[in-house]
């Protein structure tokens, strides 16, 4: 049985796997950080938040000394499952850690 968790993620309770909701690809064990089952890329800010001012201290584009943009893609269909804005080198966040036993019991009960 698959349980919808976010816009792009499901959990397959029987197999205890994270699943891409769009294509059904099994990403990784559901006990793991789903991001570990994704492809990861650092997206240059000029491709998403282009500066509209040149040569000034601020430009409507984030400061790469402070912040970087990481994108997590489904390795099969390429949908962006999530992204994360982090300071350079900051550990990637394990943002969803489900209690699978509790979830199993709820589904059974």
């Amino acid at each position: 049985m698959k349980i919808r968790i976010t816009e792009y993620l499901e959990v397959d309770l029987k197999n205890e796997k994270w699943v891409c909701q769009r294509c059904g690809h099994y990403l990784i064990d559901a006990n793991e950080n789903y991001k570990k089952g994704c492809l990861v890329a650092q997206k240059p800010f000029e491709q998403v938040h282009p500066p509209i001012v040149e040569g000034q201290a601020y430009s409507f584009s984030p400061d790469a000394d402070y912040c970087r943009l990481l994108e997590f893609y489904c390795p099969k269909c390429g949908i962006m499952i999530e992204n994360e804005y982090l300071p350079p080198g900051h550990p990637i966040t394990h943002d969803i850690q489900l209690d699978l036993d509790a979830l199993q019991k709820r589904q059974e009960g």
Binding site: T6, K36, L39, I52, Y58, F60, D63, Y85, P88, G89
Partner: protein, 690 residues
């Protein structure tokens, strides 16, 4: 025994959850039938709503006039049972000052709590947020028995301090922050004490506004008091007190029921800010939510340490209060807003942390920290609640402020100090089924308004040059955030104005998207000194910019001393004719931008909400630039190609992480952060000046 403590009361601020029922309240429960209780709740909500409307109509400050108001009815022990507000944090914070009054002043012979009294406070240690939020309450007696309190909490703004407008960005201790009044009696026998009002006036740059605001709160409290006495005449004191307390119990039970439906698990969200007030630097709030059965526990290990001499610190109460913006406005939107909701929360705040201020450290810009945390609640909350109520798993509204702050003398020669109201015109976050609302309001004050510019201009020394939606001011995504506004102001009518601004998110975006949606772009302040704007206006120059994006085009004829500032811009004098430009952000994006309906992108182009560059490079659509006719087939091809590019560009997690973890921000950016990346793994920064 004396109850006077001569210092901040650390015990009373821990009592955020409802007090146990009194024996009278408990005995009354069996005698209250459900129909009477429903009618009672409706009447109490109407009384509170009348109090809110009265406060707004009589008040003078920007915050009060435009809806930054919480009006409530408190139990005799001080719990806030009924409140009318969109400022949800006051729904659980307004009670602490009342509990302080109950604890300290009822039995204190030199103060006492009697019919006709009025009490005031603005110390954020009790109010929970910041000194600009001021409260007033009155006890309600029935046949000489104290039955409840009525009260109003409102952002008045100016509260003394070393900078105008109630937010002292340069504060180095609480002694720079002006008036910090613990709950104190300011009225007796239905009259305000003029000596105390005179003292407040002497400590405040804008005494007219402060005193009018106090009288507005008091008038509303008195009307509500009258209504309550009329209600007790009809229903009896036992019913009234029992039913008022029952609202808290019913709320708590319903909240527990709803929380228990959520998946158990741990949800994490680190949050980052890029200013400590006078300096640009990184700080972190590390949020962990642990959901188990009918409880959610907050913990914050690895949050930036407390800053001894920078005003970004917040008391823990402010964090709990701001969590209610998310809970009351979104997840628990269908329940009454009161501190009964806190029965589902537990919390653990680390000592010596940014979010657990102690001692004399300054807290003037604590709303940044509280808001940064609240944004984390939207992100973690969406991940926690999507499975149960997906339509409310929304992206965040704009969270970075972007608020001009000013002081001086206006065109009527009256002293003024306040903020402008455009914070109440930010964009709403994108939703799982539609875009965010453009110019929706403030996420923390959803019932507020941004005023007409003409009204603001009528007693403020500014001329608005433009104020309208700002193209691409939102986060992109499958659904985009609502647009924010950009506006320009010229100093007008007076020789000079002390001007600054506050907010965060000039280097590190303040407002992040959800489920692959993008962040709101950074914002900043632009000022032009010795501007030729008055001359250009006199010439009716048609090339003058009338939107934020045109401000940055080469054709803009304005000239002068051009400066770009972090959105937290220190107060400085700006002269007559100088200009000040502010973008107030839109909402964050939801979902992968390449899933956005191409026709919605075309509509955004038609409505000047986005640019051709964004349409092609972020949304990956193909169309005729002249006719705006969509090429569906080519769009499909381009998007398919873009997906392939992602698969080629992306690296397996372990490979990416190995490279990523070698990076580090420059040391200057980490000056106040604590040990990087985990502050608990190193010593905290030393004392001030070290």
């Amino acid at each position: 025994m004396s109850l006077v403590t001569y210092g901040r009361d650390e015990e009373v601020v821990q009592r955020l959850k409802p007090e146990p029922m009194t024996s009278l309240e408990s005995e009354a429960q069996d005698k209250i039938n459900d129909v009477d209780f429903e009618i009672f709740q409706h009447k109490m909500n109407m009384i509170a709503q009348e109090g809110k409307e009265t406060t707004m109509k009589l008040g003078a400050s920007s915050g009060m006039r435009w809806g930054d108001v919480a009006f409530g009815v408190y139990t005799g022990l001080g719990d806030l049972s009924v409140v009318a507000t969109g400022i949800w944090f006051h729904a659980v914070l307004g009670q602490i000052p009342v509990k302080y009054i109950v604890k300290h002043w009822i039995d204190e012979p030199s103060v006492g709590v009697k019919e006709g009294d009025a009490f005031f406070w603005n110390d954020p240690f009790y109010g929970g947020v910041h000194g600009a939020d001021m409260g007033l309450c009155v006890p309600v007696f029935y046949k000489d028995k104290l039955v409840c309190f009525t009260g109003a909490v409102v952002h008045t703004g100016e509260s003394g301090g070393s900078e105008p407008g109630g937010m002292v960005g340069s504060a180095r201790s609480k002694y720079d922050e002006g008036l910090l009044a613990p709950p104190m009696k300011i009225g007796e026998n239905y009259a305000l004490k003029e000596d105390i009002l005179a003292m407040f006036s002497a400590m405040n740059r804008d005494p007219r506004t402060m005193i009018l605001d106090i009288k507005a709160r008091l008038a509303a409290c008195r009307i509500a008091q009258r209504r309550i006495v009329e209600l007790i005449d009809q229903k009896g004191i036992e019913f009234f007190q029992g039913a008022l307390r029952r609202i808290l119990s019913v709320t708590a039970d319903a909240a527990k029921k709803k929380v228990s439906q959520l998946n158990d698990g741990v949800f994490r969200q680190p949050r980052f800010m890029d200013t400590v007030g006078p300096e640009t630097a990184l700080t972190k709030i590390n949020i962990t939510l642990t959901k188990k059965k009918d409880k959610i526990k907050f913990s914050f290990k690895d949050t930036t340490p407390m800053l001894p001499d920078k005003p970004l610190n917040t008391f823990f109460q402010g964090i709990i209060g701001l969590s209610m913006v998310y809970f009351c406005g979104w997840f628990l939107h269908d329940l009454p807003a009161n501190n009964g909701l806190l029965e589902v929360l537990d919390w653990e705040f680390p000592e010596n942390s940014l979010i657990n201020a102690k001692g004399d450290v300054p807290t003037s810009i604590s709303p940044f920290t509280q808001t940064c945390f609240a944004h984390g609640m939207f992100l973690a909350g969406a991940r926690m609640t999507y499975h149960l109520d997906s339509l409310r798993a929304v992206a965040a509204w704009y969270q970075g402020f972007g608020v001009p702050i000013y002081g001086g003398v206006n065109q009527w020669n009256e002293p003024i100090a306040d903020i402008t109201p455009e914070i109440n015109a930010t964009g709403a976050g994108a939703r799982p089924d539609m875009d965010g609302v453009d110019g929706a309001g403030a996420y923390f004050a959803t019932m507020s308004d941004c005023s007409d510019v003409e009204t603001t201009e009528s007693d403020r020394p500014f001329l608005y040059l433009f104020r309208n939606y700002f193209k691409n001011s939102y986060g992109h995504g499958k659904f985009r955030g609502g647009a924010g506004v950009g506006f320009g102001m010229m100093m007008h009518h007076v020789p000079w104005v002390a001007m600054g601004s506050f907010g965060y998110g000039s280097n590190f975006p303040s407002t992040l998207g959800i489920f692959g949606g993008y962040a709101v772009p950074p914002i900043f302040i632009r000022t032009i000194g010795n501007s030729n704007m008055k001359q250009l206006l006199g010439e009716s120059n048609s090339a003058l910019p009338n939107t934020m994006d045109k401000l940055y085009e080469d054709e803009n004829p304005e000239a002068g001393a051009d400066e770009y500032h972090h959105v937290t811009m220190p107060i400085r004098p700006m002269m007559n004719g100088d200009t000040f430009y502010v973008p107030v952000g839109g909402g964050a994006g939801y979902g992968d931008s390449q899933e956005r309906d191409p026709e919605d992108v075309i509509n955004d182009l038609k409505n000047n909400m986005t640019t051709h560059w964004i349409a092609k490079n972020v949304y990956k659509i193909a169309y005729d630039e002249k006719t705006l006719r969509l090429d569906k087939k080519k769009t499909k091809e381009i998007r398919s190609q873009a997906r392939e590019e992602r698969l080629n560009l992306g690296k397996p997690y372990d490979e990416f992480e190995a490279e990523w973890l070698t990076l580090r921000p420059p040391e200057e950016a980490l000056k106040y952060y604590g040990a990087y990346p985990n502050p608990s793994e190193g010593p905290p920064p030393g004392p001030p000046g070290m």
